[in-house]
Point group: C2
Chain length 265, copies 2
């Protein structure tokens, strides 16, 4: 049974922190839900980007919005080597490195070392996500919901595609800011194994993910319903209206908490 | 002053037919608006596809929805060689020809004759759209609104891009199901001259518009805000959720009639 290490309500939304132990390592997690919520509601798993952490501003803002507008719960965990799993100095160093990459400074190519580090991070992250989902489903304000979505762009897609590919409980997913490079066989196989609805957001001048790689990843998804949204601009410049589109994507596939509550009364 | 040849209300929406005379030719037009509407409201101009007509089911359904949900007026006209401008027999023949093309049957390539016919149709259609807009702005339930959007895919884009490029009153546009072929210099220049927000919907297995041409047209738009939505499937298979996306696109850029009414009170 999970114990919340901190619980704080603000503006009608309760944020709870908890820790998991997976393969001997502490995995810090956070879950947002409407204040006073009890019973079943849709759940979104949000995977943060490289150098970010589980409570990064944009992610937390969306989680609060989903709680208030849709009655959802939203779960986030620190990826391996990120957030509370590293020191502040390490986080600052990581932020500088990733920042330079997305701005197209220095070597924007994907080196074999980077590919290896990402593969290793994903190998650890997938069971962590599964453990976090297992724990979360038992919370009384989630109550073993079957309406579960995933959101993750950039590193959240690098980790999310293999995770979602082998997690049948996920019903729909938002991916983006990532591509399929030639020779990424395992990643391609994972994308092909995904058959749930996918919304794939892509920046047309992304220094990290070239256009042809983005289109290759979109093409690889096995889903019958998949949409690619292309916008001009660099990696970190996703327009605000895409955020509104994600909210509608989840509403369409997972419903709203209120509607479900009525359906189960 | 325009005289309505027929006026019919159903489900809270009034549909009015009227005729314009442009360059000596009759141009049949239709406008939908909320029943009993008076005063300024956003206006959408909808250009139908090849072989279709101004009151084609999907277009009319959207117009009624916009009237009911957003308080909008929606204008449509029969394109040259379409709708009430040709005989029923000609319309059926046209429908068979275009149907075969979008299903990828026969010669799906764009012949010089087809290019010439489309250029001639566009040359006539652009002043017809301008005349229809002029007439419509004077209606008391449109009342010289400045909140004007364009919608048109396939032939509605072939005609719409040159029209919108030289019509400063249009504030945002939905285009799609079309591409920029090598050598289409005038069409490319028109796309480059467009700087308003554009939502561009594209089918990934479109027998009429190859992928690379679709991307070339998206790239050509001069707009800072432009989004390309790619979905799997053939020409006529745009998913329903794109219709919901267009509605939000117009709401975002043109507002709702109610909000405007309040602002002008």
């Amino acid at each position: 049974m999970v114990t919340f290490t901190r619980e704080r309500s603000e503006g009608g939304v309760t944020e709870r922190l908890f820790d998991l132990t997976v393969a001997g390592e502490r995995v810090p997690a956070v879950i947002w839900a409407p204040e006073g919520a009890r019973g079943q509601r849709p759940l979104i798993l949000m995977g943060h980007g490289g150098s970010q952490h589980k409570k990064i501003g944009t992610l937390a803002a969306r989680a609060r919005q989903y709680a208030k507008r849709l009655g959802y719960a939203t779960l986030a965990i620190d990826a391996p080597g990120h957030g509370d799993r590293i020191s502040r100095e390490q986080a600052e160093q990581l932020s500088r490195e990733v920042g330079a990459r997305v701005r197209g400074q220095g070597n924007s190519g994907f080196t074999p070392e980077m590919a290896k580090a990402m593969a290793e991070r994903t190998r650890r992250a997938v069971p962590e996500w599964k453990a976090a989902l297992d724990a979360t489903l038992a919370f009384d304000f989630v109550a073993h919901t079957t309406q579960i979505g995933y959101w993750g762009v950039s590193m959240g897609t690098a980790i999310g595609v293999p995770f979602v590919a082998e997690e049948p409980r996920i019903k729909c997913a938002v991916f983006g800011l990532a591509g399929l490079r030639p020779g990424q066989t395992a990643f391609e196989e994972a994308a092909k194994a995904i058959h749930i609805p996918v919304e794939f957001v892509f920046q047309w001048e992304d220094a990290v993910a070239p256009r042809e790689n983005g289109i290759a990843l979109f093409d690889a998804f096995g889903s019958k319903e998949k949409t690619m949204h292309i916008n001009p601009g660099e990696h970190v410049a996703i327009p605000n209206f895409e955020g509104a589109s994600w909210e509608r994507f989840y509403s369409r596939h997972l419903g709203k908490a209120e509607a479900m509550a009525r359906a189960f009364e």
